[in-house]
Amino acid sequence: MTLQIELNGVNKYYGAFHALKDINLAIEKGTFVALVGPSGCGKSTLLRSLAGLEKISTGEMKIAGQLMNNVPPRKRDVAMVFQSYALYPHMTVEENLTYSLRIRGVKKAEARKAAEEVAATTGLSHLMKRYPRELSGGQRQRVAMSRAIIRHPKAFLFDEPLSNLDAALRVHMRKEIRALHDRLHATSVYVTHDQIEAMTMADHVVVMRDGVIEQQGRPLDLYDRPANRFVAGFIGSPAMNFIPAVVGEDGTHVLLNLGTTQARLALADPLAPGRAVTAGIRPEHIRIVAAGQGAFDVPVGVVESTGSATYITSATQPELTVVETGRGDVRGGDIIGLSIDTMQLHLFDAETGKRLEAERARGDAGAPRHLHLAQAVR
């Protein structure tokens, strides 16, 4: 495969503020890449740098093999879908779609034909004469995408395109954008703060924080083997439970500290005795058993049910969240036992937050089915 986008050692400073720190990224042609992270992590800056709307300070940036550092946006041949859509309010839908063609001097009839073709695939044909202010949010979103599609650009850049839509439409458009990508085989870079969008849409997820790429890889790899505590907590919903823990004296087990309760879990591979670690366990990897039957017992705090799944939060310090499919019969105040699959236990260095790779054979049979259910209901 050929590389469509290459970033080597890219840095961006705003005065003294270091917005992008030594970014290295290689995107193959035709892949859908999601840049995800909390607000202010630099993901939008990175996207805008790709578009040329921000100038990178150091490093090199290539699109389709060409160095782009000093190429102005209008010569980069990339299309961007803005969070605000940025439709031209004084132009009809058709004029919005054909704008880039008309600027390039394409003949009117030809431009109109191209617009009609694109509009037919995005379901805008009956709206061609309307102005943006006469369209609904979803329709505007489609116009913004069609305006990008009509250009056949080297790359599509999406800047949180779904965040102005309501929840139901967002789920729908998520699928539509992905279907569109599969049809056009275009290289897409998609910025979002919503890890579910990143997980469900992308081939390759890049998690960023404070201008640094924390981890990148296939969505489920990130889910199964987060490189550090930040990624572990960011990817997955509901979020992973983190419990302060200490490796036992013989190094073969770990002691979880839940305030009043302590739990002892066997380690598959030994670690240095007495080492302070953070244990991470996803809510769907904890099973509820009768009191005294599991690894440890906890009092129940809050029970929330969505109908298809039940979220149980323990009254411990720190709180533990457990997800059960269906409707449990647990109530607040009950004492329950928790059973933890030690194969699914993640260990992070207590100080650096780095993943501790006790090279044990992980029986990665993939995440259990109900995980997807839990995500879908959110």
Partner: protein, 300 residues
């Protein structure tokens, strides 16, 4: 009685009261004089009938007389030239400055504020300043033009009939440019930045962005500012009083100054009123344009 009182304190009566108060004020302060002026233009008015409202009705005699006077045509043409040149100058320079300050270099907003100085100055003061600048024998403008080689001999701006109107136009452009600039700056800052980014990614260069994004998005602002310019230049009186007094030999006279001259210097109140009525028509047309363009704002 009680119901009326209750309605005034917390009902429809209160709303009506709120509307009536300014309406009454407008009618007394603007409406009545306007009507009085229109009525007067159809009457025979002299010094002795000035005090009474009931005067002999003469139909369109004042209008016919006015247009048979030899100076009417040149003065109307002067007015047209004054209004169009002033608006063109104010708008073009104002737009240029607005675009310049829009680039937001350090100190831009501070400098832009400084430009407003010309607008807050009274017309008579501006007139006095420009009298010095335009002065024929020792004026700065003549000096500059002479030193740069544009002219050979001094131009007597205020007393040469070929230049007297332009003397007022130059001063008026200086006076009104900053107002145009401020309104246009507001219009420019109302255009969302991402439109330019989208257009840039769509391949438009700076000139194309100006013509396809900036100008169309500024349509309502431009319409409003031209209508306001028409209204303001038709109101411009101080500069004529301060610079040329309409002379020499009416070469820089315009309708608004002439109306005052006829009424209060020649005591021909009927003709003064007649000219005012003609001007009212133009100002009303401009007002319609203004109201329409501010109502039809194109925004996201």
């Amino acid at each position: 009685m009680k119901r009326i009182l209750a309605s005034v304190t917390d009902g429809k009566g209160f709303d009506i009261g709120l509307v009536l108060l300014p309406l009454a004020f407008l009618f007394i302060m603007s409406g009545l004089p306007l009507v009085y002026n229109v009525v007067m233009s159809f009457q025979e008015v002299d010094m002795f009938s000035l005090g009474s409202f009931v005067r002999p009705f003469v139909g369109f005699k004042n209008y016919v007389d006015l247009f048979s006077q030899p100076e009417t045509r040149p003065i109307l043409l002067n007015t047209a030239l004054f209004v169009s040149s002033s608006i063109a100058g104010q708008f073009l320079i104002g737009f240029g400055l607005a675009l310049f300050f829009w680039m937001n270099f350090p100190g831009a907003s501070w400098l832009r504020g400084l430009f407003l100085v010309s607008w807050v100055m009274p017309g008579l003061v501006v007139g006095a300043i420009w009298n010095w600048i335009l002065s024929g024998d020792f004026g700065v403008l003549n000096f500059l033009l002479r030193e740069t080689g544009v002219i050979e001999g001094n131009i007597f701006w205020r007393s040469d009939p070929n230049y007297s109107l332009w003397a007022v136009i130059i001063a008026n452009i200086w006076l009104g440019t900053s107002f145009n600039m401020i309104l246009l700056s507001v219009g420019l800052s109302g255009i969302p930045k991402d439109l330019y980014e989208a257009a840039e990614l769509d391949g438009a260069n700076a000139l194309q962005r100006f013509f396809t994004i900036t100008l169309p998005m500024m349509r309502s602002t431009i319409g409003a500012i031209i209508a306001l310019g028409l209204i303001f230049t038709l109101q411009q009186f101080d500069l004529f009083a301060g610079i040329t007094s309409g002379g020499p030999n009416n070469s820089s006279n315009v309708t608004q100054y002439w109306a005052w001259d006829l009424s209060f210097r020649q005591y021909d109140f009927a003709k003064g009123a007649t000219i005012s009525v003609i001007m009212i028509v133009f100002v009303m047309l401009a007002s319609v344009v203004y109201v329409r363009s501010t109502r039809h704002e194109v925004r996201g």
